[in-house]
Symmetry: C2
Subunit: 225 residues, 2 copies
Amino acid sequence: AIVARGIEMIYQSGAERFRALKNIDLDVKRGDIQLLMGPSGSGKTTLLSILAGILTPTAGSVSLLGEEIFKLSGSKLAHFRLQNIGFIFQGFNLFPALTAIENVEVALNLKGIRKGAARQQALGLLDQVGLSQQAKRHPQDLSGGQKQRVAIARALAGNPRLIMADEPTAALDSHNGHAVIELLRNLAKEKGRTVLIVTHDPRIIDVADSVAYLEDGVLKAGAHR
Amino acid sequence: AIVARGIEMIYQSGAERFRALKNIDLDVKRGDIQLLMGPSGSGKTTLLSILAGILTPTAGSVSLLGEEIFKLSGSKLAHFRLQNIGFIFQGFNLFPALTAIENVEVALNLKGIRKGAARQQALGLLDQVGLSQQAKRHPQDLSGGQKQRVAIARALAGNPRLIMADEPTAALDSHNGHAVIELLRNLAKEKGRTVLIVTHDPRIIDVADSVAYLEDGVLKAGAHR
Ligand SMILES: Nc1ncnc2c1ncn2[C@@H]1O[C@H](COP(=O)(O)OP(=O)(O)OP(=O)(O)O)[C@@H](O)[C@H]1O
Ligand SMILES: Nc1ncnc2c1ncn2[C@@H]1O[C@H](COP(=O)(O)OP(=O)(O)OP(=O)(O)O)[C@@H](O)[C@H]1O
Ligand SMILES: [Mg+2]
Ligand SMILES: [Mg+2]
């Protein structure tokens, strides 16, 4: 479902030229849970953003569900991402002016699900991450782990076929962390979604089909399990 | 060094009245490493913010280094915090308009350390968290774990006697996480600082003198080790 070839990323800021990703190839089969691990600063967020079409690589190609995403026009790519990818950001990126439930409802609205149906599905998603009591809170009135869980609920809205998560359990304790891992495992194994997870959390290794390691922008595949 | 008695925190937002902390007592001896663990939403950030004087409790008292902090005037409290507390925020709270090194230098300036001395100390602190190569970057051009490490360096600036850290290893991999834990351990055991750490990270338990658990706003002390 995900095929990346020859990915290069060079960040240019002023005189500085930093090669963050070096000639990366990656294959993820449909319905698999693929982990991406590695030291802080190794390029995981950069790679995930490129695989999700959020960031354009300096070189290389990415094919998602058979579609060469960087050959699409800007608006076609935006539409493709909306329809097919649920992205969980490392920094959550919630809309501060909206409540928890509105944050999820907006994602549903963008997929054509509205009003009563949107409200119901949003409540269901918040319930899955243990946040039904916090539906009307704004992000500033939520704990770190609660914000992370709203971001997870929002990414899962509308059942995207590809889920890309950047450290989805970083702010979570043992119980909530396990609940999220189980949620992601179920989406892949019972519902056939393809799940790509960047993580430092060794607990997630147990549910992975494959683990790859990034170090200084170079990808080494762990053994396919 | 830290004595908290009868801490209550009630958040009021509109009609909602939420009791986040319930009659909390805590004692932390000087030079100890105290851990505060518990589920997402249990009140850890709230309690830490109160212990640091950043948030005023609905009831109760906090004494730091013998000083009753909520009896101080606003400016005296601000001055006391500046002189004595290094705080690492769960969301890092870096100044986006400043570079990594400037973020640390500003903290030193506020303590009367300037120019050459500030630059040198800032570089030393960044080096301790493995970021000497990233000194001139702005926060938006840093990875999640790099931002966390700048926040740590900044909190340690000027050698504060109390260090309060809200999930300081959440965004860090194994190697960097261990380096930070060792840094904090050394500050307590070799340099006599008092270190209070909110964490979900079980690796930190090994260096702790005491572990307390928060659940739904109620504190239970773990055994003093
Ligand atoms: N401004 C606020 N208004 C209302 N409720 C709040 C506010 N800030 C925090 N809360 C609630 O208080 C409780 C404790 O929040 P806190 O941020 O202290 O939790 P935490 O233990 O740090 O969680 P995490 O591990 O997820 O960071 C949570 O249920 C949270 O939703
Ligand atoms: N806009 C940018 N300009 C320059 N360098 C950048 C920029 N964004 C990221 N980098 C650098 O690229 C490298 C990879 O960053 P990335 O955010 O992908 O790391 P990461 O593996 O996700 O780290 P972490 O585990 O800390 O989140 C880092 O060294 C980072 O400093
Ligand atoms: Mg990252
Ligand atoms: Mg918190």
